[in-house]
């Protein structure tokens, strides 16, 4: 019994860790798609953010006599800032192609993914000569777990104690930020003027335009938020996980899984949280049980690793309820002349 609850706690804990980058990317996609811009490029933005975070945190933390900036504990924040800047820049390229030039949003997203996959290795190799990796980050260069107040003292209280100590406490700041942003996104989306307008511009940009509000400005704003959130997601991968540094293609399809979670969640923030937690749990199970013996057959490790991708397909196939996307998604808006 104790064994079971321990396993369950450990799995839930990993699920939260795995879900965080998915959640942030999913919310990033939510802003973009609610404003009527498809974003296949979440993956690429996360990747470039992860690289920028790893590289700049490494530079900042390197002692000055090694050619670094010797910034100590500030390094991790420099990394985070660089991640956000890089991701927003990529987001603006996407915005320029799909809003200003009215180009194909899918193709632009695909291009951004490839560009990120290539440029991160090229520059990484040029800067660090480590085959596209960034140097291993030390304390102060990455986000460390935060122990919440009283975690130690309530640890022995039955049920609540272990849950508080093992599951809720002990994550890094980005994890808590991610869940905070869920609430914030809900509030922005449903309780502010900007949110109302953003939802409208994704459904019927013509109406928004008629009301004298700039479609272009709204969509650019939404994509800036998308960029910031992808930046956080990417920074988490290189600064907030055991990887402690950037490795090539480290996003490993998370941008696409986040998109699937977004569709699964029907473009709603709270539901998006649950959807990404589900994917996080699946990833945790795949990592914990390399192969699973079902009695009559053994599921190989490769199957367990492919599980999130398979679930994505099942979800997209609509076996879990019909998802209706924002109506104007993917269509460039042409002002009437």
């Amino acid at each position: 019994m104790d064994f079971l609850t321990n396993d369950l706690l450990q799995l839930s804990d990993s699920a939260v860790r795995n879900a965080t980058p998915l959640l942030l990317a999913c919310l990033a996609g939510l802003y973009s798609e609610r404003a009527g811009i498809f974003d296949i490029g979440l993956e690429g933005k996360m990747l470039v953010a992860a690289f920028a975070a790893g590289a700049f945190s490494a530079f900042a933390g390197m002692p000055a006599y090694d050619g670094g900036w010797g910034m100590g504990a500030w390094s991790v924040w420099i990394g985070l800032g660089a991640a956000i800047v890089a991701s927003v820049a990529f987001s603006m390229i996407h915005a320029f192609a799909s809003i200003t030039l009215r180009g194909n949003q899918l193709i632009s997203g695909v291009a951004i993914n490839f560009f990120a996959a290539g440029i991160t290795v090229l520059i990484g190799q040029y800067w660090f000569r480590m085959g596209g990796q960034t140097p291993q980050l030390r304390a102060g260069q990455r986000f460390d777990p935060i122990t919440l107040p009283f975690a130690k003292s309530v640890q022995d209280v039955p049920v609540i104690g272990p849950i508080y100590h093992d599951l809720i406490s002990g994550h890094n700041i980005i994890v808590y930020l991610g869940f905070l942003i869920v609430a914030l996104t809900w509030w922005v989306l449903y309780r502010t003027r900007f949110g109302l307008r953003m939802r409208a511009v994704g459904e019927n940009p013509g109406a928004v335009d008629t009301a004298g509000i700039s479609v272009v400005k709204l969509r650019y704003s939404a994509l800036i938020i998308t960029g910031i959130l992808c930046g956080l997601a990417g920074a988490y991968l290189s600064l907030g996980t055991a990887a402690a540094g950037f490795g090539k293609d480290m996003t490993a399809g998370r941008g696409f899984i986040a998109l699937a979670a977004l569709i699964f969640a029907k473009w709603k923030p709270i539901t998006a949280m649950w959807a990404t937690l589900l994917f996080g749990l699946l990833e945790a199970i795949g990592n914990k049980y390399q192969s699973v013996d079902l009695g009559f057959m053994v599921l190989p490790g490769q199957f367990m690793q492919a599980l999130p991708y398979i679930l994505t397909v099942v979800i997209l196939a609509g076996f879990v309820g019909k998802a209706i996307p924002p109506k104007a998604g993917g269509e460039p808006y042409v002002k009437e002349r």
Binding site: L101, Q105, I112, N113, G118, L259, Q302, Y309, G318
Partner: protein
């Protein structure tokens, strides 16, 4: 397509200008990693065209013709098939399974059956996303990407499990020697022309050219091709004309998957003669850039595939000569996709303005 522009501008000048833009930005990237763009171009061209390199250039070209045609055919029906990578990977499994199942008496039968197996397996891997798109409205872009990742897992599993040869390497046993396909050296040798004996380019190159011709006939000379283009142009109009979206989506994706699959004949059967990990090497994705640059026309696809063949082989030289990682090609590929596929209006709109102004003066 566009009434404001003469055909030569639409099909010639705009692609060339967008390509020039893509190369210009690639040059900036080269500068940013501390290299000289002119030296890079020199190394690439020498690497791609020297007597050793050309055999590799044409080998890569063959792959890209197949994957480029695959994306192009789907584009005509307004379907974005990003799954070439997975379709070619699974087709490799098909080729390996059939090649290892029989003791082939000679290469002609082996080629025929291998080609069929590659097409069937490639098409089958495209069929599920196609069905889900047509019947359940699942976004084909995301499902095909997922199928790429799932295919990687399957191939990985097979090569360390059921299909693994004796030994520790993740690869299948070698195919029977009699099934070995004629290389360009063998073919040109018949006509007394010298060609590098070790070059990987083989008879599949000619299959690729035939495939391009067949795609041209399909798209512009058959009823099915007409229906695909009509559907791609306007789904609603096509439905009114009695064209079934289900049928077109399925058929276009099956053909697309079969074309991607054919790549395995070149790589798995023609070159490696066994199944190895990562046999596709991103060629499925390069097909997207090839189709966009070639404007989904078989002639354009063949030319664009040759360009990417040069880039790939020349890019491999960059690693040896200048220490630039092969990801340089991924960057160029991304920029070509961006500028020709999504930022085309950057050159199109100014050109249209010029021609409207000029047209007003001349026509009236």
């Amino acid at each position: 397509m566009n009434k404001n522009l003469p055909k030569w501008v639409d099909l010639g000048l705009i692609p060339l200008l967008t390509l020039a833009l893509a190369f210009a930005v690639s040059g900036l990237v080269v500068l940013s990693i501390g290299q000289n763009p002119i030296a890079v171009v020199k190394v690439m061209i020498q690497g791609a065209f020297n007597p050793f390199g050309i055999g590799h250039t044409l080998y890569f070209t063959t792959n890209f013709i197949f994957t480029g045609l695959a994306v192009a055919v789907a584009f005509h029906a307004k379907l974005f098939n990003i799954g070439g990578e997975g379709q070619a990977g699974i087709a490799g499994v098909g080729v390996a399974l059939i090649m290892l199942s029989f003791d082939w008496p000679n290469w002609t039968i082996a080629l025929l059956v291998g080609t069929l197996a590659a097409m069937v397996f490639g098409a089958a891997w495209a069929a599920i996303p196609a069905y889900l798109q047509a019947k359940r409205g699942s976004h084909i872009v995301i499902t095909t990407i997922m199928f790429n990742l799932i295919a990687t897992a399957i191939v990985g599993y097979l090569l360390v499990g059921p299909l693994q040869a004796v030994g520790s390497l993740p690869e299948s046993p070698s195919f029977p020697p009699a099934a070995s396909l004629p290389t360009m050296h063998d073919i040109l040798g018949v006509f007394g022309i010298e060609f590098d004996k070790n070059a990987p380019v083989n008879i599949s190159f000619f299959i690729a050219l035939v495939a391009a011709l067949l795609v041209w006939i399909l798209i512009w000379k058959t009823r099915l091709g007409y229906e695909m283009r009509a559907f791609g142009h306007s789904e609603r109009a096509a439905v009114f004309a009695g064209i079934s979206p289900m049928k077109i989506t399925m058929v276009a994706m099956l053909i697309s998957g079969a074309l991607s699959g054919l790549m395995a004949v070149n790589t798995v059967q023609g070159e490696a003669e066994r199944l190895v990990i990562g046999a596709v090497e991103g060629a499925g994705f390069i097909g997207i850039a090839v189709a966009l640059m070639g404007r989904s026309h078989p002639v354009g696809v063949v030319l664009a595939a040759f360009l990417f063949g040069i880039l790939t082989q020349g890019g491999a030289e960059l690693q040896y000569e200048l220490g630039i990682p092969p990801q340089m090609i991924t960057v160029i590929q991304a920029l070509i996709i961006m500028f020709t596929g999504s930022m085309e209006n950057l050159v199109r709109v100014p050109l249209e303005n010029i021609f409207i102004r000029a047209g007003k003066g001349a026509a009236s």
